[in-house]
Subunit: 410 residues, 2 copies
């Protein structure tokens, strides 16, 4: 038998997927499993966009242009304008989800063997894409103690070894829900300019900001036109993860020309998804207000419930629909499996994403979990009932380790 | 300004796309441009599948499982069964077009720096995917003199340097339309076994076989269960290039497990496309018979018209919807541009794909072009009228160089 490549053998494997068989077994045994493990929104997709698909007149389901359907690209700047982001259609390349945007950006900004620096914990799939692109991920520690705030400029400077060609952020952050304020991004911009780096920013949760801090896009940073590459997607914004439509936005046209070669190689993003995505741009503003209010209620509920649990360390996240919490357990991977395998409360249990999967640094995230608030408040409340009881019953209960000790910067 | 990666700067750029601005100019000048340059079928997409999309009841456009919608995967073996291919749903992983299937297969079968061997001329985008995967493409010459038949076993053996981990075929072939008969594949299988290689076969044109030679899938080769990886797509089969749904089919589950990690990283193939693709499986057999008869008429017309042109070298292709022809011109890239820029016949011209783009060997394909017969016979005939006149008028007319001299095996 020919052997699979070494890179695929050592490729990142999703920590959530490993738990999937246990969730299936729990369901087969008749248990209600509350899914807080995946960022798949439960909110209804906008009806106007679903209807656009039904109304589309198609004789031949043809390739779209590699960079995206022109009418969609033409309209996108109006969407960005609402956030004070000035871009032209020429600054936008439509991709097959933000997933492809991440891969293309890594391929075009970094050569194999070079390094991308990213605050940790980070979106687990960045590791997978980096592996595909042959790029190393260098994690820069952040801590639950300050709500996973962006590291200081000094921390970034210290971490910038010569192999680092790009910094990758997710703002608002998955998995922590942390929103990076304008001042932090402006401070980081100086480092980016000084070291002539690419600044890749995944802004797919742009709409989901709940506090007083307004969202500030990296595309609004003056003087960084050649450095900033924004990775985007309609998945979370419109509860449309299955559309597989995203975008790369950058004013660096030399970079976009390079990326366009990758786009041409894969021919085109999905045509149906783009028809859908174009129609989402006509979604009434009321939709977002309702959706945002709903997520904010859930966040408040989750934060208040978690805060009330003894020895659970938590913070109030300002964005996205995640919270990262530290639990009094020996090992969150084990605890999450136990929840599905051995625990039940009123014949219910919950599925969480173990924190370790969001770290590249071995041993980190051992007591942490990511909770996605993609359930309505009633269900979320039942899930929290389960969690409270589970933490009392779990045989591996263990005191929380102070964040500073758990995560040394050395 | 930060510099783009060296790999993206030297990435393969589509030779057809370079001509696109000239085609646009010709159209703006009021010329009718017959497009024989791209494999975008003009045949209507099956109505039952288009209707399935209109009828789909979706509240939340969610991610599908990474390996594809289960009901679609369950039905696919029945499709393959029609070709005598015995596979189970567990042998199939749904991808975002064959494009993604090629990329994932290269990543999982080869490490960066290793080599894939493929007969030349080959589908131009293989070069792009190889670049993304950091894999080298080693071309194995084939010649128009024998209709681009598969090289002999001796040729393959000679080309198998130690860095070669896989052989990549396209059968029926894009860009040549050549169909590889069973006997040739069986002979090659011995080499694959002997050298313990992966055999990647792009079979997206499986339906389009016109001669007496039946299609024979690499999945039908006995003893090669661990070696064969078939790359597939609904794009050509159902005139549905925009669906972006393909598949990787292999009985090597160690390989599929490795590939599944890449699939999980990019989350899921497009949901709409998969609803469409599942519905295509209920397309009446009559659809294919009509479509195949139509393509066969076009092939016959194209072959007879090309054969009648002085000094044009051609062969009768048995599959796909392409023919590769050698023209009496100094440089096909120049000729193709001249067709769009300077030529017109009854205010019409045609767009062809220059042969050089399908070769990795520098200087090859200089007198060759690929013609895709994706126009109805009337339009195809008008396009051939244009070509006949153009070859008379072209200032760079030049005798055809004998294939043997043009393409030495050294």
């Amino acid at each position: 038998m020919p052997e699979v490549s070494q890179r695929s053998a050592r490729a990142h494997s999703s920590p959530i997927r490993k738990l999937a068989p246990f969730a299936d077994q729990a369901k087969q045994a008749g248990k209600q499993v509350w899914h807080l493990n995946i960022g798949q929104p439960d909110i209804r997709t906008p009806e106007n966009a679903l209807q656009a698909l039904r109304d589309a007149r198609i004789d031949v389901l043809a390739y779209s242009p590699s960079g995206g359907v022109p009418s969609y690209r033409q309209k996108l700047p109006h969407y960005y304008q609402k956030f004070g982001i000035q871009v032209s259609p020429d600054d936008i390349l439509v991709t097959t989800g933000a997933s492809e945007a991440v891969l293309f950006a890594l391929l075009a900004c970094l050569d194999a063997g070079e390094t991308v620096l990213t605050p940790e914990p980070f979106y687990a799939n960045y590791l997978g894409f980096a592996g595909m692109a042959g790029v190393a991920v260098k994690p820069l520690p952040t801590s639950i103690a300050d709500g996973f705030a962006l590291p200081t400029v000094a921390d970034f400077r210290q971490a910038l070894s010569p192999d680092v060609r790009a910094i990758l952020l997710c703002n608002p952050n998955n998995p922590t829900g942390t929103l990076y304020p304008e001042a932090m991004l402006r401070a980081l911009a100086e480092v980016v300019l000084e070291r002539n780096l690419f600044l890749l920013v995944d802004e797919v949760y742009r709409e989901f900001c709940y506090g007083d801090t307004p969202f500030f896009s990296a595309l609004q940073l003056p003087g960084l036109e050649e450095h900033v590459v924004v990775l985007d997607s309609v998945s979370k914004r419109f509860s449309a993860c299955g559309a597989r439509v995203g975008a790369i936005v950058s004013r660096n046209h030399t970079l976009l020309t390079a990326i366009r070669k990758y786009a041409e190689t894969r021919l085109s993003p999905p045509t149906y998804g783009q028809i859908f995505a174009e129609a989402t741009l006509d979604t009434p503003e009321q939709y977002f207000q309702t959706v945002k209010a709903e997520y904010q209620r859930r966040r408040d509920l989750l934060f208040s419930r978690l805060s009330a649990m003894p020895e659970v360390i938590c913070y109030r996240p300002d964005g996205a629909f995640y919270v990262f919490a530290q639990l009094p357990v020996d090992d969150a991977d084990r605890f999450c499996q136990w929840l599905l395998e051995a625990f039940s409360h009123n014949n219910q249990t919950l599925m969480l994403a173990p924190g370790s999967g969001f770290y590249a640094t071995p041993g980190q995230g051992r007591q942490e979990v990511r909770l996605a608030y993609v359930l309505n408040c009633d269900d979320l409340s039942k899930a929290m009932d389960c969690l409270a009881v589970a933490l009392q019953q779990y045989p591996g209960r263990s005191s929380v380790v102070a964040p500073a000790a758990l995560y040394s910067m050395s």
